[in-house]
């Protein structure tokens, strides 16, 4: 890369690096902060000036850093005449603004942040004008929106500032997004995202069928950024920003980014009818409309804001004409507008700062009190009005000249007449600015005591005014930069000669009409103003706000309507979606022919099926009565277990029965604390609707199951059967699958169970602190309680059953690997036995006899299972690899010890612990509900009565 290229990259990066400093350095003082901002800006400007001579000669300086080549994105920059012009404007005005802001901002404003944002913005803006890659340009483009958002909202305590910032970001953000799409399309057309390639492919682009969409999308971005009709409304509201921001972003630089981009893309996009009619017309409308509104604004900054809108319209129109002469005029006017408008904004800021108002109706006569400001403001405003010997006159003449021979549709009059009208309005509001603010008698009701500010504040606008006059008197001085920039815009070698006197041309007459008409309008301002105020007209901000509000309100309605909190509705939506999608998928091209025959239905199955159906329907019908529903659920569970038995799946049956028993028992205990009956929650119509949905879903699943059962498959289970004994050391394939082939799944599942126990415990804990506990305490359970809560017979039977159940549990556990059984079932069996003790003698009695903490049991179980797995790691095998051996211990017959069994022990402990923890949680509720606790095994202690009887005799 050449030295020039390196310099270019430094220019582009300098503001970003510099931006870090002022935010951190604020403690060093406000002036230091300003210096830290000014130095990188000045350095960038100096480097630009070093490069300037080469560029003026027509050289293009390029620099490239690879960034993301696969996406067509590179950090490549180039500097040509147009880029140089804008870059100098950005850094040059930036310097003036830094100076101005130092004196403008008050001590309460966090100045470090301000300068940081300002440098960020400056960097983004420089990035836009220097990018040689449209994707890179997009990035900087979005960054300007973001930094402008932060700057507009800088006075965050002002609601207008916040609103203005939000609106600006929304509008320019929307445009930015459209532009992303447009640029991507453009890149697709050309096959490159490099600007230099794109600019040379103008013919290819204009011939493409995607030209128009790309053009419209890019123009959306441009028009929103440059505040063109109908997106102009954000700009006046952005004026809530501090004046340095308004002067810098919203007149000199950011809003010109759109204009810049149109100029940049000129060779690639301009010259077609679509370009002319969209761009020129929008510009024309914006110019006239902006000027008209400006005339009637009383807020100085609003007046200048609409004037800016109008001048941006003028520039847009010129670029829209698509001729080389118009491009020259546009470039020249960019320079001129920058000088006088920034000066005017600063003047407005000074007046606001000194007089504490910006309301024109409260001002007047300031020329005596603020002579310096008066001089600056007048020079700038005369330039804005287009009075000869000021630079605004020159470019306005060029504009009128171009307008005078532009044909719109078939009319030769539309453009010249409207352009003259726009110029006329411009004269009127410029004169109004001078006469209503500075001229007239001195008033005695200013909110403050206005006088000229310190030099730091007027120096910057004064410098700009000097430029206004110098260019106005000696326009040839700007020849070089205008030539370089205009040549870059058009891609042709232009050699414009800027002069004051062009002879008696139509433009001159138009200019004279404009000045005279403007003076007349100013004289008529008072009645016109009344008429204007009385005329109803659409307020763009109101429309925008109403639009946002209505969208939000609509969304709130929709969201509230759909998210009504009812699970039944959510489930209905879920089910309808599933059935509908499933049905569409199912009813496609048709199924292959089934490969299996239908078997005859044995009578046992038929009966079981009917029972299952009846029980299920009954649950649905009777679910309001919770106890009955629970009993019916028990029946369903048992029917399914019976089905497993019938289909020769003893393991499944065993598990299912134990699970059913434990679940139903726990549910029964929980039911005790709930209302006995569910209130009816749905109307009849809703129930009908839900019924249909449910039937459709059930039918769907049934149909699917049928379709699958009618077709043959090969499964991996053959392998499992073949290798169960060989590899897993067990003849019970189901158990070997659970603890060996798929032990990893089981490991996960016991974790689930363990966590479930924990969660229930935590939930109970929380409930007992909350409102639920109060409700429980106030419930009266005595009414429906049996008088003999712990009947003798039950106590006796469960005590007898206990050792038997334990033995059965151990037996089931031990045989599990070869016969139906296993740790899971064993855990449940023992849990059931313990549950029965609780039911018989109450929890306190049982609790006293337990030796181990349930939490620990769960933890132990999970850890044992895990260690089994890790053990195989230590032995250098994959996680959970099993090993087994046979042990012969007389007098017991030979049995097998497999590591899988240790794993099963973990399962056993976890299951037992989890179930018992759930039970424990339930009993806590019982006790918190005020249930009396018995320490003895039975309420009725026979022992006492024996004593009594003895005593009696």
């Amino acid at each position: 890369m050449s030295h020039e290229g390196t310099l270019l990259i430094i220019i582009a990066l300098l503001p970003f690096v510099g931006a870090l400093v002022p935010g951190v350095m604020i403690r060093a003082g406000r002036t230091a902060c300003a210096w830290f901002t000014a130095v990188p800006t000045a350095l960038a400007l100096i480097m630009l000036l070093i490069l300037a001579p080469d560029v003026m000669r027509g050289e293009v300086i390029q620099a490239e850093l690879q960034w993301m080549p696969q996406l067509g994105l590179s950090a490549s920059f180039f500097l040509d005449g147009l880029g140089l012009l804008f870059a100098c404007m950005i850094t040059g005005v930036g310097l003036l603004i830094i100076l101005y802001a130092r004196f403008y901002l008050s001590g309460d404003d966090p100045m470090g942040q301000f300068y940081t944002y300002l440098l960020l913005f400056q960097g983004a803006m420089l990035g836009i004008v220097l990018s040689d890659n449209i994707l890179l340009l997009l990035i900087f483009w979005e960054l300007t929106s973001l930094s402008s958002f932060l700057l507009i909202g800088y006075w965050k305590h002002l609601p207008e500032g916040r609103q203005g910032a939000k609106m600006a970001l929304t509008v320019t953000g929307a445009g930015g997004l459209a532009m992303i799409a447009g640029m991507l399309i453009l890149g697709n057309i050309v096959g490159s995202y490099n600007l230099t390639d794109i600019l040379q492919a103008g013919d290819q682009i204009k011939a493409s069928e995607w030209y128009l969409p790309a053009l419209i999308l890019i123009l959306l971005g441009v028009f929103t950024k440059s505040a063109q009709f109908p997106f102009h409304f954000w700009l006046p509201h952005a004026m809530a920003a501090p004046t340095p921001v308004s002067a810098y972003l919203h007149s000199a630089t950011m809003v010109k980014a759109g204009v810049f981009l149109m100029a940049r893309m000129w060779p690639a996009l301009a010259g077609t009818d679509a370009w002319f009619y969209i761009v020129a017309t929008t510009g024309l409308i914006t110019m006239v409309m902006g000027a008209l509104i400006a005339l009637f604004k009383d807020d100085l900054k609003a007046l200048l804001a609409f004037s800016t809108v109008s001048h941006l319209g003028l520039l847009t129109m010129l670029l829209g004409f698509g001729t080389q002469a118009a491009a020259v005029a546009a470039v020249f006017h960019i320079i001129n507008h920058l000088t006088f408008k920034a000066a005017l904004f600063m003047t407005a800021g000074i007046i606001d700062h000194e007089a504490h108002t910006r309301d024109i109706k409260r001002l007047g006569g300031l020329r005596h009190l603020m002579p310096i400001t008066f001089l600056i403001g007048t020079v700038a405003a005369l330039s804005m009005a287009g009075i000869p010997l000021f630079n605004g006159f020159l470019s306005k003449e060029m504009m009128l000249e171009e307008a005078s021979h532009t044909k719109w549709l078939d009319s030769y009059y539309v453009v010249p007449v409207l352009a003259t009208f726009g110029a006329l309005l411009s004269v009127a509001y410029s004169f109004r600015f001078i006469s209503h603010v500075f001229l007239g008698p001195v008033r005695d009701d200013y909110p403050s005591n206005p006088h000229d500010p310190p030099a730091g504040m007027w120096l910057a606008p004064a410098l700009l005014c000097t430029l206004v006059i110098v260019i106005g008197v000696a326009p040839f001085l700007a020849d070089g930069i205008v030539r370089a920039a205009a040549s870059a815009v058009t891609g042709a070698e232009l050699d414009p000669h800027l002069k004051i006197w062009h002879g008696v041309t139509p433009a001159l007459w138009m200019s004279i009409i404009a000045v005279l008409g403007g003076l007349v309008l100013l004289l008529l301002h008072r009645p016109l103003d009344k008429a204007w105020i009385a005329t109803p007209r659409p307020e763009a901000k109101a429309i925008f706000d109403a639009l946002i509000m209505s969208v939000v309100a609509l969304m709130r309605r929709i969201t509230d309507a759909t998210h009504n909190g009812a699970i039944s509705r959510y489930l209905a939506i879920f089910t309808v979606a599933s059935v509908a999608l499933g049905w569409i998928a199912y009813s496609g091209s048709g199924l292959s022919a089934p490969t299996r025959e239908l078997l005859p239905v044995p009578i046992v199955i038929a009966v079981g099926w009917v029972m299952l159906v009846v029980a299920t329907v009954s649950v649905v019908v009777m679910h309001h009565h919770r106890f009955r529903a629970l009993v019916l659920i028990g029946i369903i569970g048992l029917s399914i277990s019976a089905g497993f038995v019938y289909l020769s799946a003893p393991d499944l049956a065993l598990t299912q029965i134990s699970v059913e028993t434990v679940t139903i028992m726990l549910l029964l205990l929980a039911l005790h604390f709930l209302p006995k009956v569910t209130p009816a929650e749905s109307s009849g119509a809703m129930r009908f609707r839900d019924g249909i949905i449910a039937l459709a879903a059930g039918g769907g699943v049934g149909a699917l199951a049928y379709a699958f059962l009618m077709r043959d498959i090969e499964t991996i289970s053959d392998y499992h059967i073949a290798n169960s004994y060989e590899g897993g050391g067990g003849t019970n394939v189901v158990n070997v699958i659970l603890v060996d082939f798929r032990g990893y799944d089981t490991f996960g599942e016991i974790i689930v169970l363990g966590i479930a126990g924990l969660v229930i415990y935590a939930l109970m804990h929380a409930l007992l602190d909350g409102p639920a506990a109060r409700r429980l305490k106030n419930t009266d359970y005595t009414q429906d309680r049996s008088r003999d809560r712990h009947p003798l017979m039950m106590v006796v039977v469960t005590r007898v059953l206990m050792p038997i159940a334990v033995v059965v549990g151990i037996y089931i556990f031990l045989r599990g690997h070869n016969q139906p059984g296993g740790g899971f079932v064993a855990g449940l069996v023992i849990a059931i036995a313990l549950l029965m003790q609780y039911m018989a003698s109450g929890f306190a009695w049982t609790q006293e006899r337990k030796k181990i903490e349930y939490h620990t049991m769960i933890g132990l179980g999970v850890v044992i299972a895990a260690l089994t797995g890790v053990g195989s790691w230590l032995a250098g095998r994959p996680f959970l690899t099993s090993a087994y051996t046979y042990v012969h211990l007389p007098p017991i017959e030979e049995f097998e010890l497999a590591t899988a069994m240790l794993f099963d022990l973990g399962v056993f402990l976890t299951v037992l612990g989890a179930v018992m923890l759930m039970l424990y949680s339930l009993s806590r509720i019982a006790r918190s509900a005020g249930e009396t606790v018995n320490e003895a095994a039975m309420d009725y202690d026979p022992g006492e009565h024996v004593e009594d009887a003895k005593g009696g005799t």
Partner: protein, 498 residues
């Protein structure tokens, strides 16, 4: 390779056990952080190995695939594990200040680490039923975390969460049953070829069932209702880890299954996904526009952003998948961080309801800077990570001239900007309505560090991804290539196929 794959599950699991045993002691929270840090180290090793050696697989219990359970990590799995570990570290540090002793005694750290184990388990498993198991672990652990603390609105949200998610797992289980019923296998790599001989029409039906089941998990339209009903209720560290990780497991599962197994009728399945993506983006962002609570806004945005990821999957072009993968990773970092920040805002400003708070920008400028980064990344501003994510996807849509969906994606981006500025303007710019000055100095030094270190870390990560996107995009490209051509994946699991 087995241990390398099982380690990321074993570490949080053992951490869970350790924190469970020490739940009455303050040491538990430090164990949680140490565990997460070790997990991070393990996941870096895993990532490194996968980058170097390609897809790796390990067979649990030493049973050859497809008969046992396979763990497998390709680039997507590896990066998901890595990002999970990063979030775990961040959130476990954050929990030092966010989780009180009462929640700790009830097993917060154990549940948190089990959740992480479940998430990681889902990312590295190569077995469909095993995926279901990890879904269950996640579901139960997340339910526990959701209701821990037991405020009535938590219970209410928790019940909706668990009810709708249970239905989805039932759907998942039905799908597994049916898929096994037609192919006789559960191994995902094996399924990829086994489905070729099955009845294609029925396979499409099964695909739809999986789409629904995973769709609920991922919270896509119209199955997302559980998410906004519950995510704003629990502790902030819990919200953050949910927001970052849980829905992404659903997206991951969709991404995996609908590139590996269900790619037989993409004209049908992926068209549905495209519609789903569009509606999800729009409905989510519009729902957010209607909210006025910071956490609720962020919750609806999760939904909306999921739409983008689904969009990438639906388009199924290489660039679109790159976009989806990139989006997935970026979004986890950003979204978790936004919830963490909301937690700090709540602590110092006294709430998350936007009309009741304010003044954060003036009083806590550092927090404001930390908020701007993820918020504007989410909104897709350059040069933050979200810009690249959206950019990749929009580029992918435009490349195949899917104009309408490109328009939707961009318009939703705009509404996202709107929402973020709403939070920014009301919580940060506007003065506090009660005149409170929400200063960070209200927190003790310890709390401040615990809150801000993870937030700053994630924000830095966002900036790194944003300013140096190239390696990340390249990674996403490699990952997408693996997804679109699963041959290495299948070979790693099943060995060389004849």
């Amino acid at each position: 390779m087995s241990w390398l794959l099982a380690l990321p599950i074993a570490i949080p699991f053992l951490t869970a056990v350790a924190t469970f045993l020490t739940r009455d002691m303050p040491v538990g929270r430090w164990l949680s952080i140490i565990g997460s840090a070790i997990l991070l180290a393990a996941s870096i090793v895993l990532m490194n190995t996968v980058l170097r050696e390609g897809v790796i697989a390990g067979q649990m219990g030493g049973w050859a695939a497809p008969f046992g359970i396979t763990l497998v990590a390709d680039l997507l799995s590896a990066v998901m594990v890595l990002i999970t570990a990063i979030v775990a570290v961040a959130v476990s540090i954050y929990a030092l200040a966010d989780v009180d002793e009462k929640m700790e005694r009830l097993g917060y750290h154990a549940l948190f680490n089990m959740l992480i184990a479940g998430v990681v388990g889902a990312f590295v498993t190569g077995d469909l039923f095993n995926l279901y198991v990890w879904f269950e672990v996640m579901l139960i652990a997340s339910f526990g975390l959701l209701v821990l603390g037991g405020r009535p609105e938590q219970i209410d949200g928790g019940v909706k969460y668990v009810a709708l998610n249970l239905v989805s797992t039932i759907m998942f289980l039905t799908g597994i049953g049916l898929l096994y019923g037609m192919t006789g296998t559960l191994n995902m790599a094996d399924l990829a070829s086994a489905v070729d001989t099955a009845d294609q029409q029925l396979l499409t039906v099964v695909a739809v069932l999986f789409m629904i089941a995973f769709g609920v998990k991922a919270a896509v339209f119209p199955l997302f209702f559980w998410l906004p009903a519950s995510y704003h209720t629990p502790a902030f560290s819990v919200s953050a880890v949910f927001a970052g990780l849980l829905t992404k497991v659903g997206v991951y599962a969709l991404l995996r299954m609908f590139t590996l197994v269900f790619d037989h009728d993409t004209a049908f399945t992926h068209t549905i996904l495209l519609w789903v993506a569009g509606f999800t983006m729009v409905v989510g962002v519009l729902g957010a526009a209607a909210q006025s609570d910071m956490r609720k806004i962020l919750s609806f945005h999760i939904v909306s952003q999921i739409g983008y990821m689904i969009l990438g999957l639906a388009l199924l072009t290489p660039l679109a998948i790159v976009g989806a993968v990139f989006y997935l990773v970026h979004h986890i970092v950003v979204k978790a961080n936004l919830f963490l920040i909301a937690g700090v805002a709540q602590r110092i400003a006294g709430g998350t309801e936007l009309s009741r708070i304010g003044g954060l920008y003036k009083s806590a400028p550092f927090l404001a800077v930390l908020f701007v980064i993820p918020a504007f990344s989410l909104a897709g501003f350059p040069p933050l990570s979200g810009f690249w994510a959206k950019f990749l996807l929009v580029k992918a849509t435009l490349e195949i001239e899917a104009w309408f969906i490109a328009f939707i994606a961009l318009a939703v981006g705009l509404l996202t900007i709107y929402s973020m500025t709403k939070i920014w303007a009301q919580a940060f710019w506007e003065p506090h309505p009660d005149g409170v000055e929400p200063k960070l100095s209200k927190l003790s030094t310890r709390e401040r560090n615990a809150f801000l270190i993870p937030i700053a870390g994630l924000a830095i990560l966002t900036v790194i991804i944003g300013t140096m996107p190239e390696p990340f995009v390249q990674f996403a490209e490699r990952s997408a290539a693996q997804l679109l051509d699963p041959t290495p994946y299948i070979t790693a699991v099943l060995g060389e196929q004849p």
